[in-house]
């Protein structure tokens, strides 16, 4: 039966004010079942206050083969990190 079920990605918000984070994936026949399964598989130890599920096929992913052109150009551009400024002492939590 499981082989007929599509794959779903599960995103859980661990507490109010935080963003939903990707927790993992599971199989389910439809969105309702995916939510219930996600509740049982990923939130049974009190991990969340909200769940999103999305069918995996609806996610467009970057191709690892293109990592060179996509990500490597950013590696030597350290000036894009805001590390060259002196922060005044009054500024906390930066």
């Amino acid at each position: 039966m499981k082989k007929n079920w599509p794959l779903w990605e599960v995103f859980v918000r661990s507490k109010n004010g935080l963003e939903h984070r990707h927790f993992g994936s599971l199989h389910a026949a439809d969105a309702d079942m995916a939510l219930e399964n996600a509740r049982d598989v990923y939130t049974r130890r009190n991990e969340g206050v909200s769940i999103w599920v999305v069918e995996s096929k609806n996610i467009t992913a970057s191709n690892p083969e293109n990592n060179g052109e996509l990500f490597e150009p950013a590696q030597d551009k350290i000036y894009r990190h805001p590390t060259f400024y002196d922060l005044p002492d009054e500024v906390k939590h930066m």
Binding site: M1, K2, H27
Partner: protein, 250 residues
């Protein structure tokens, strides 16, 4: 010792213990990883409820009785669960059918038990109700999926419901202890739940395009300690550890 209250608590708790044990048997054997975890989650919810009931029962029993003794060291005739919950898992349709037929009752029962004049029981009922409300949602959803699913799933769930139907009437059977507890405003007057129960069950079965089963007569006995042939095997699994290594603790 308050004999009737003690028996009354066991009558409630043993249902959850035995059903929890049945669901626990699916651990690692569920039809898919997701339903496996769902069934064992429900099992753990039920065991959690059982502990509250047995701790209270142990207090009433006195003589240093413990929840473990009550759970693991009674003889078959001393278990007071209904016959429905001890029926075997057979297949996923039986597991869901049994769960559904019990959950609808369990929810109605706990809703009323919240009003008990026994404050311990009322508190346990209140705490358990959220869990049971999810159980009911889970099993009702599956009834609809199986009933309105494929030809095979429909045939199987119909067959499961047809053969479990004969155990539903016992849910509303009252023992002497039950009647005395009702008269003291401690117990739930289960016959008053019967009509609502069958209406709710029938509504969901109809939505699931399933036939309402019919039974000419209904099995009972579990609440008086007279069980079906499945119970002994279930208990030998459940009690193995305490019988083999008496007084062992984790």
């Amino acid at each position: 010792m308050k004999e009737n209250l003690y028996k009354y608590i066991l009558g409630i708790a043993d249902n959850s213990l035995v059903l929890g044990q049945r669901l626990g048997e699916l651990c690692g054997h569920g039809p898919s990883l997701e339903t496996d975890i769902a069934c064992t989650n429900i099992s753990l919810d039920l065991f959690g409820q059982v502990r509250s009931y047995y701790q209270y029962a142990a207090k009433i029993k006195g003589n240093n009785a413990t929840e473990d003794q009550i759970a693991f060291l009674r003889k078959e005739r001393e278990y007071l669960n209904v016959l429905l919950v001890e029926q075997p898992n057979t297949d996923f349709a039986y597991t869901i059918g049994r769960q559904f037929l019990f959950d609808i009752y369990h929810f109605l029962f706990l809703t009323e038990l919240q009003k008990s004049h026994d404050l311990n029981l009322a508190a346990i009922a209140k705490k358990s109700l959220k869990e049971v409300s999810y159980h009911r949602r889970f099993s009702s959803d599956w009834i609809k999926r199986l009933g309105d699913g494929t030809e095979e799933s429909k045939r199987r769930i119909q067959e499961a419901l047809d053969s479990l139907w004969t155990y539903t009437d016992e849910l509303f059977h009252q023992t002497e202890a039950d009647k005395i507890m009702v008269s003291k405003n401690i117990g739930v007057d289960t016959p008053t739940l019967k009509e609502t129960y069958y209406t709710e069950v029938q509504t969901i079965l109809s939505e699931s395009t399933l036939e309402i089963p019919e039974s000419k007569w209904f099995q009972k006995g579990g609440k008086d300690g007279i069980h079906t042939e499945h119970m002994g095997y279930l208990l030998s699994d459940l009690q193995y550890m305490q019988r083999t290594y008496p007084n062992m603790e984790w």
